[in-house]
């Protein structure tokens, strides 16, 4: 790896520049080495690992109750959904199921997380492409969601609310009323979002016909989430492999057609509406009962391998636990959505202009701690 200074111009006359690791448009500490011919991108080489904490190695020495908390720090915008994946995987190993009340609360919180995550993405996408106001509009609603999280889970970003067998505590008495209020607020603002950014000519021109990804390539690169759905690849885990009662709610999998940046943008915008609809179906029907199944003090998974996947805001998160019967996992692997999505970046960006790279990066919606883990 050569950092700044070396090989500024290659023998073919290509200009090499470094974007990041401290560049705002990479949304974290990602270092991109870009080969340019004039302004045209010839090659992009991501350099990772600036925030690698080896969560997989750490988890090998933690108990099945404790390793979950480290995963909040992977994709910190989908922290609750990461916790849910781990809790579900441990439950699969123990062959228990969370009570219906816990499952429903998990789903509501997961959809609130998705909304908050997509709102932050929407604000930042605007910011990346030169529109400052969307950021404030988005944070207004996101803040309201985070306040619900704070009240019920005790934390705004790293909720750590899922435990094997259910949720940590029961919901706050205000939870339903507050969520209903926030939903009403968010629903009335969707039109505003579209007015502020979606229809803007400059924004559309920077996104349409930029960053094309075909359906075959999306599958081959292992892309999931809104990125693959923007190319028309059906991959919503909530539909394909339902968990925690997603098979009982009505919602549509949003699919794009074109596979360009704008298509990915529109998928996320529609997904927010679907999330609102899912929460609306559940929020007034939370069943009474326990919020946690009875589990032993020390959890031990039987010998074997367990794989559980969930749909985070960015795609499919897989948790693969290999157990040798001890109280901590023998090997754990997180198949993170961002890692696979990032691997397609070089393929997508080739041939476009350097300015388009910012649009491509922001619609891939990378969270670097999830790439590095």
């Amino acid at each position: 790896m050569s950092l700044l200074g070396e090989d500024i111009v290659t023998e073919e006359g290509e200009f090499v520049i470094n974007i990041g690791p401290q560049h705002p448009s990479t949304h974290g500490v990602l270092h991109l080495k870009v080969w340019l011919d004039g302004e045209t991108i010839k090659k992009v080489q991501p350099h990772l690992g600036y925030i690698h904490r080896s969560i997989e190695k750490m988890s090998e020495s933690l108990s099945y109750r404790n390793f979950i908390y480290a995963t909040s720090r992977m994709d910190y915008l989908s922290a609750h959904i990461n916790n849910q994946a781990c809790a579900l995987c441990v439950e699969k190993g123990l062959q228990i199921e969370a009570p219906p009340r816990a499952q429903m609360i998990r789903v509501i919180l997961a959809e609130l997380t998705r909304l908050a995550s997509h709102q932050l993405w929407w604000g930042c996408t605007g910011l990346d492409l030169g529109a400052v106001s969307p950021f404030f509009y988005a944070f207004r609603e996101r803040e309201a969601i985070l306040e619900i999280m704070e009240e019920t889970c005790g934390a705004r970003l790293t909720q750590n609310f899922c435990v094997p067998g259910g949720i940590m505590t029961d919901i706050h008495p205000n939870f339903q009323k507050r969520t209903n209020d926030v939903l009403k607020q968010i629903k009335s603002k969707f039109q505003e979002y579209d007015d502020v950014l979606t229809g803007n000519v400059i924004f559309e021109n920077r996104n349409k016909n930029v960053g094309f990804l075909s359906a075959e390539d999306a599958i081959s690169f292992g892309c999931t989430g809104p990125m693959a759905r923007g190319s028309g690849v059906s991959c919503d885990v909530r539909k394909w492999f339902p968990y925690d009662g997603y098979d009982k709610v009505q919602f549509d999998e949003v699919l794009g057609k074109e596979g360009d940046c704008f298509s990915r943008y529109m998928v996320r915008m529609h997904e927010m509406k679907q999330s609102v609809s899912i929460i609306e179906q559940l929020i007034d029907n939370i069943p009474e009962g326990d919020f946690q199944a009875k589990t032993k003090m020390v959890l031990k998974l039987p010998k074997g391998e367990f794989y559980q996947r969930v749909e985070t805001a960015r795609g499919e998160l897989g948790v693969f636990i290999v157990s040798d019967g001890a109280a901590s996992p023998y090997r754990i692997k997180y198949r993170s959505p961002n890692f696979s999505n990032l691997s397609a970046l070089d393929h997508i960006a080739r041939g476009y202009k350097i300015g388009d790279l910012v649009a491509i990066m922001s619609t891939i919606d990378l969270i670097i701690p999830d790439v590095d883990r």
């Binding site: 790896m1 190695k57 794989y307």
Partner: protein, 151 residues
């Protein structure tokens, strides 16, 4: 196809493989030298069509290393897990499949970085997450971290 049907179908194609059906998915245990032909035909066969490699990882069993490939078919919605044992833990080697599944490129580099498995014919076999001068392979069970403090 169900796991049982998959097993019969794959047995007809490759009589030499063995199976492990204890888990949720069908585990196909293969010799590491057979990896490429098997994966290639799993992808191309119309009845199987495993086009989505959703997880690629390695497990260190101390006496050997086990490569694990999770494959899904988007068309037929079935899953198979390919496991290839690498007996040589000192200089582990296996063929790359990154020309069959492009996602394998990064995942194999990650395995190289953390387990030290060398993927033959990989176009860009460099460390991915750790520094290039890093000593050892952290996810191996015999890795000793001098800086780690146990409280």
């Amino acid at each position: 196809m169900t796991n049982e049907e998959l097993k019969q179908y794959i047995s007809a194609l490759f009589p030499s493989v063995t199976y492990d059906e204890t888990g949720e998915f069908l585990n196909v245990l293969i010799a590491s030298t057979e990896l490429r032909p098997i994966v290639q035909s799993l992808r191309q066969d119309d009845a199987l069509k495993f086009d989505f490699l959703f997880c690629l990882t390695c497990i260190d069993w101390k006496t050997n290393l086990m490569m694990v490939y999770h494959l899904l078919s988007k068309t037929h919605k079935h899953i198979v897990v390919i496991k290839a044992k690498i007996a040589d833990v000192v200089k582990p080697e296996i063929e790359t499949i990154c020309d069959i599944y492009q996602t394998a490129n990064f995942h194999e580099r990650e395995v190289y970085d953390l387990f030290g498995v060398n993927f033959k014919n990989h176009p860009d076999m460099r460390r991915l997450l750790l520094d290039e001068n890093w000593d050892g392979y952290p996810l191996r069970k015999n890795y000793v971290d001098e800086n780690m403090i146990t409280i």
